[in-house]
């Protein structure tokens, strides 16, 4: 299968070919790779694509997954609407 056809991050439409090119450009740690390609910044919160990216990076660089670094997970755990925080005294977040 062509690397261009292997989608790693579905939310942000990032393919295996994109990741391999970025690694060649010098993005050799998972934090900067995430920011450069926006992997894991979509609604799934990186739950599938970040572990995949870590493995690809480790494989391409012939390092262990621990050595390519881990991504800081940011709150909230799952996406929540702004309205959930509305203080109740006014209208109840229609």
């Amino acid at each position: 299968m062509n690397d261009k056809d292997v989608i790693i991050c579905r939310c942000e439409d990032v393919t295996l070919a994109d990741i391999k090119k970025a690694i060649k450009d010098g993005y050799t740690d998972v934090e900067s790779l995430k920011r450069h390609l926006q992997i894991g910044t979509g609604p799934c919160q990186g739950k599938t694509c970040i572990p995949l990216t870590e493995k690809i990076l480790a494989r391409e660089l012939q390092k262990s997954v621990e050595d390519v670094g881990v991504v800081t997970s940011r709150p909230p755990e799952s996406p929540v609407p702004f309205g959930i925080f509305l203080k109740g005294d006014k209208k109840n977040g229609k």
Binding site: G26, R74, P81, F82, G83
Partner: protein, 376 residues
């Protein structure tokens, strides 16, 4: 051991921009040293805004020039930095109008096209804004924003083409000085011979300056930001109200922050207090986004000086230069600061006279220049 004409400490926008303008002046034998990855500090954590609506001659002139350079970057760098002049819409209560009229007057004298507008005009610019309690706004259509990671990547590619060395995940441990002249920069991996060092280390700037006995009056204040899921772009201006600010990136995410009035801290952790406060503030101004999902929040530092202006240029130690203490404005000032520091190295003076008012000596002489318009 390598010899370098200039060693730049810090791979954020300030360091990379300085390297870029040095390269354009023909100086290519330089190295940028970054202790983590490029943009990992305040650049990658910033709120993306670029504004000229300041209250001092120094800030207004530097930012007017920086906006000009942002346009050049958009046109000339190897990829788009997504600089967009969507304007800054600064919502004002009746009690704030007079003060902002004065700021606008100064901005206009210095060539910035800001103006005070009424409530109805606010609605014309962003129809969804709730104007309850608002008398009008200070509006500058030539303000805007850019995308931090694309900016860093565009600079990285440009520097690579100039043949400039960038070292990531390498930390400066020592700067050796002999007879009052810088001799060497020692990292955890290598030693560079050099007589010029630029401290562009963001929230690490104080530690770097201490290596050569220079004390910087900097305090770290944590500020937090949240982003939403992407939706079709409907909001081009940066909207400001009090400490609240928000805009939408070209990728469709609403991005913004507010101030929790924290004391200085060394912690970069995000906190539980932020999202409820930010959500309530943003919904009071833009109630239509209440069903939009918040995706992430994070924290970054404002590296703050006593007068909220950066510290630029030389120090008592020859060859030791500062591009530090941006007090929340480092990203927007990045282009002009890089060019100022490059001209200082090449010609011995920063090319805008106002920048020379912003060197470290002002804290000794007491000639502070207070900025009143700080957001977030």
């Amino acid at each position: 051991m390598e010899s370098k004409d200039v060693v730049i400490i810090g791979g954020g926008i300030t360091g990379l921009s300085t390297a870029y303008y040095l390269a354009k002046e023909g100086l290519r034998n330089i190295v940028v040293i970054e202790k983590s990855y490029l943009g990992s500090g305040s650049t990658g954590r910033c709120g993306t805004g670029i504004r000229q609506q300041f209250t001092t001659r120094e800030h207004i002139i530097l930012m007017r020039e920086s906006v000009k350079l942002w346009k050049e970057w958009e046109n000339n760098l190897p990829k788009s930095v997504h600089f967009r002049q969507g304007g800054y819409l600064w919502l004002l209560k009746e009690s704030e109008m007079d003060a902002y009229r004065e700021y606008v007057r100064l901005q206009n004298i210095l060539g910035v096209n800001s103006r005070i507008i009424g409530k109805d005009d606010v609605k014309l610019i962003v129809p969804d804004i709730n104007t309850e309690g608002i008398a009008g706004a200070s509006w500058c259509p030539s303000d805007g924003n850019a995308y931090p990671f694309d900016t860093i990547d565009a600079l990285r590619i440009a520097l690579k083409r100039f043949g400039i060395l960038i070292r990531q995940f390498e930390e400066v441990k020592e700067i050796k000085v002999k007879n009052g002249i810088i001799q060497q920069v020692v990292t955890d991996k290598e030693t560079f011979n050099t007589h010029f060092v630029v401290d562009a280390a963001g929230f690490g700037a104080r530690k770097v300056a201490r290596m050569v006995g220079v004390d910087l009056p900097l305090k770290l204040y944590r500020h937090q930001i949240a982003v939403s899921e992407p939706v079709k772009v409907f909001l081009e201006p940066m909207v400001v109200k009090g400490e609240l600010y928000f805009t939408q990136t070209y990728r469709g995410r609403i991005i913004g922050g507010t101030d929790l009035n924290e004391q200085p801290t060394e912690s970069l952790s995000s906190t539980d207090e932020f999202l409820p406060q930010f959500a309530n503030e943003i919904l009071s101004v833009l109630p239509t986004i209440s069903s939009l999902n918040v995706m992430r929040q994070w924290a970054g530092f404002y590296v703050v000086t006593p007068d909220h202006h950066p510290i630029l240029g030389g120090t008592d130690l020859p060859g030791f230069l500062l591009g530090v203490g941006f007090s929340g404005h480092g990203f927007m000032l990045g282009p002009v600061v890089g060019k100022l520091l490059a001209t200082y190295i090449m010609h011995g003076t920063m090319y805008l006279p106002e920048a020379n008012n912003l060197d470290l000596r002002r804290f000794r002489s007491g000639c502070l220049i207070q900025e009143k318009a700080v957001i977030g």
